[in-house]
Amino acid sequence: MWGAMPGVTKDIQVTDGKAESKALSHGRGSGLSWSLADGVIELALHREPCNELGSASLEELEKFATALEGMQAKAHALVIHSAMKPGFCAGADLRELYQRSQAMEKAEAVKGVREFLERIHRVLNLIDAAPLTTIAAVHGVTFGGGFELALACDLIIADKMARFCFPELRLGLIPGFGGIPRLKRDLGNAVVRDLLLTGRSINATKAQQIGLVSQVVGEGEALRAARATAAQLGKFDRATAAAAKKFIKPIPQEELRREIDIFCELFARPAVQAGLRKFVESTDAQPYLP
């Protein structure tokens, strides 16, 4: 099935095995690593070329989500960032999606996609609702699923070279990792429609103007700024911060579930396979545009 990739979970290296709670405070997989220090959890994404989210990444994110539940009592902040030069995350692994869907009957492929979406929604919902403050420190390409991962966080701190985009319509799809409900939660509908329906990308300055990004910093400074912000957050009472977050950031559960349904309905159409094939084979300078 979509998410099944035996071996990934066991490949996560736990670097401190003295006790279970301590063991969860560090982990390293092939595409991501995390650590907890001074009340701040840092999740670094490092899968070539730009942290594409496929089955291997999902398994590692699930492992992180389990660790997060164990760590969050000792943490006040989570910082998610990328160690890859091109950007934060280029979104779903469309090559894997195309190849796997080609190898299956349509009904089986749709079932696999639904399972994948449900699993990634569980991870992103957990990050979204975590009782600590979450910060996405982004640079460069923050597209599709990468944009959706950032949107699950409480704050987005962007390097001035960051770019945000929902290119899914180009494939005959909508964002499937919770992007539309979360964008709608944070921004006015006109902006949501513009980003979704034109598929254009916007830079960090524009993203700040529309209320998507809370801080824009110089090139290469997003992680430093996120760490400084996380240190500030540590001065407040954790329970109070968690209560404030819960009050102002409801999880749009119903819309998230509806998004999965719509995505799966669209995925069953032949246009999607054609769109995926065109993307995979594209040598265009702007392959995210039709």
Binding site: V141, K160, M161, A162, R163, R200, N203, A285, P287, Y288
Partner: protein, 80 residues
Amino acid sequence: MNTAEQTLDEILGLAAAHFRVPREKLRPDDDFFKTLGIDSLQTLDLLTKLENHFRVELPDYELQGVSDFRTLAGKIQARL
């Protein structure tokens, strides 16, 4: 406001600096994908650099098919 020639000159200077190419190697009618040897992710970098420098918004779809510096300058000039 910049003249079209000033805009073009600034684009060439920015591209040369960002992609570490000698400025004198870049000409207005060059295909910048070939001259700079850039891929799709680097094209986004160039777009962001230009938007930040000129303080304009350049929707990607308006730049589709644009491959030379002169035409790019015209698109930016129209938004200044």
